[in-house]
């Protein structure tokens, strides 16, 4: 699926719920289902330090696609991390660089990504795009 198709799918899954507690509950379940990052990957290099929670992100490049793995110490953040992995992992560097993450606003998660939340998510998205640029540059 393309980045856009996955975003539409996610928006659909969240739209069913009006109540914030239900949306968070879904997000928490997604976080719990996220494959844990191997301890060996929880290195200082992979750590994205937020003010309130921490995110670890690792990436590798295979056959023109970037495969991401990530985890967070907070469950809600982990849920959003799971969504970002679902959207970006397995995509090409160009698609990642050009992606517009409109699902964030559509399902009402903007507040989690505001700079004041300091949960490392904004930095994680930036880091995912940097990885895409780096892998793209390496290939040339």
């Amino acid at each position: 699926m393309t980045i856009d198709e996955i975003q539409n799918q996610i928006i659909g899954e969240f739209e069913i719920f009006d109540d914030w507690m239900d949306r968070y509950s879904l997000l928490i379940d997604l976080g719990k289902d996220l494959a844990p990052l191997p301890e060996t990957e929880k290195t200082p290099q992979n750590l994205i330090e937020g003010c309130q929670s921490r995110v670890w992100l690792s990436a590798r490049y295979e056959n023109g696609r970037i495969l991401f793995q990530a985890e967070s110490d907070a469950l809600l953040v982990k849920g959003i991390v799971a969504l970002l992995i679902r959207i970006f992992s397995g995509q090409s560097p160009d698609d990642i660089i050009n992606a517009d993450l409109r699902f964030v606003e559509a399902i009402g998660l903007s507040s989690h990504l505001s700079p004041t939340r300091s949960n490392g998510l904004l930095a994680m998205i930036r880091q995912m795009k940097y990885y895409a640029m780096a892998f793209k540059a390496k290939e040339k």
Binding site: W20, M21, Y24, S25, I28, K32, C51, Q52, S53, D73, A74, L75, L76, V77, H112, S118, N119
Partner: protein
Amino acid sequence: MELKPDILHALRSDFPILAEKVGSKALVYFDNAATTQKPRCVVEKISEGYYRFNANIHRGVHHLSRLATEAHEAARRRAASFLNAARPEEIIFTRGTTEAINLLAFSFGEAYCRPGDEIVITEMEHHANIVPWQMLCERKGLTLRVIPIRDDGSLNLEAAAALLNERSRLLAVTHVSNVLGTINPIVELVRMAHDAGAAVLVDGAQAVAHLTVDVQALDVDFYTFSSHKVYGPTGIGILYGKAQWLDALPPYQGGGEMISKVSFEQTTYNEIPFKFEAGTPDYIGSTALAEALRYLQDFGIKRAAAHEDALLRYATEAMEAEIPNLRIFGKAPQKSAVLSFLIGKLHPYDLGMLLDSQGFALRSGHHCAQPLMQRLGLEGCLRASFAFYNSREEIDQFIPALKKALPLLDG
């Protein structure tokens, strides 16, 4: 003692923001240690200032400038009487507690600190009362000494006595901890510091909304607080200093207002307090702060504190009775209305967000006190902090909201 329902109702109606909603939920504001809400009279004072007496102060001979100057100096007198300072000139307006501490770290450091001297702080300080001293230590080759806390969150006074010695130049200590709620024994600490020949700065940011502060009775050399934590506007605060200290200290920033005479060869400085108030001061902010202090004093700080203490006791008991695996941080005998906690292994961010979605405003994270977090062995925690407009009913709603969040995060 709790406030009577009709009094509390009238009090709450002075704070329009308390009627706001978070989505469809009523706002419950338990983040008063971060900032307090503003009564209508304070907000009106700000607009009145801009509508009726806005003019640059201390210079113009015209009517508006005289009005603004008088309002600003009346605010200084109000702040002086609020802290029971001996003279209004002992009150310096700053941008807040942080700027006040930076001012003092610079000016005091320049005048009184030599390599090998020591600055003493405590383990429970906010970053604002740590970093400026570290910067001074680096600049001047001083050593920073840290008084440890006991497990209940109170200060280890034996350790304090041992740490204060003839090398100590200044003790910088918080009056009330923003995380633990601990009310520190300032009189005792001041005596120890003065016996060692050290001056004392007290960070009163968390204290002034909840305690009657008398700087003369405490015998502190310097005392500071932020307006926004005592129902006043943001961006302004107070540094109190004994006149003999302020007279002796060099200025912090240069500019207009703080000078007596300027030539390209030499500048002489104005007298206190103006020596420390370079540039056009926030005379709108100062008058609104004075209004906040008047409002609180008219209501009665002791009466407000008695209500907050009752809420703290009620919330502590209710949570301990109803929330499993609860850990409360800060159980000092003398404690202000701050309740920091964790539940089991749950991440404070998750709990904070689930409470937010139900309308409850709490602080999560390290509370700008990372060294204290390290001492407690935590990454962060949640904090509920109460003001006099909070109610028992809000705590009664808070416990079920907390209970609703727990199963979502469990397992």
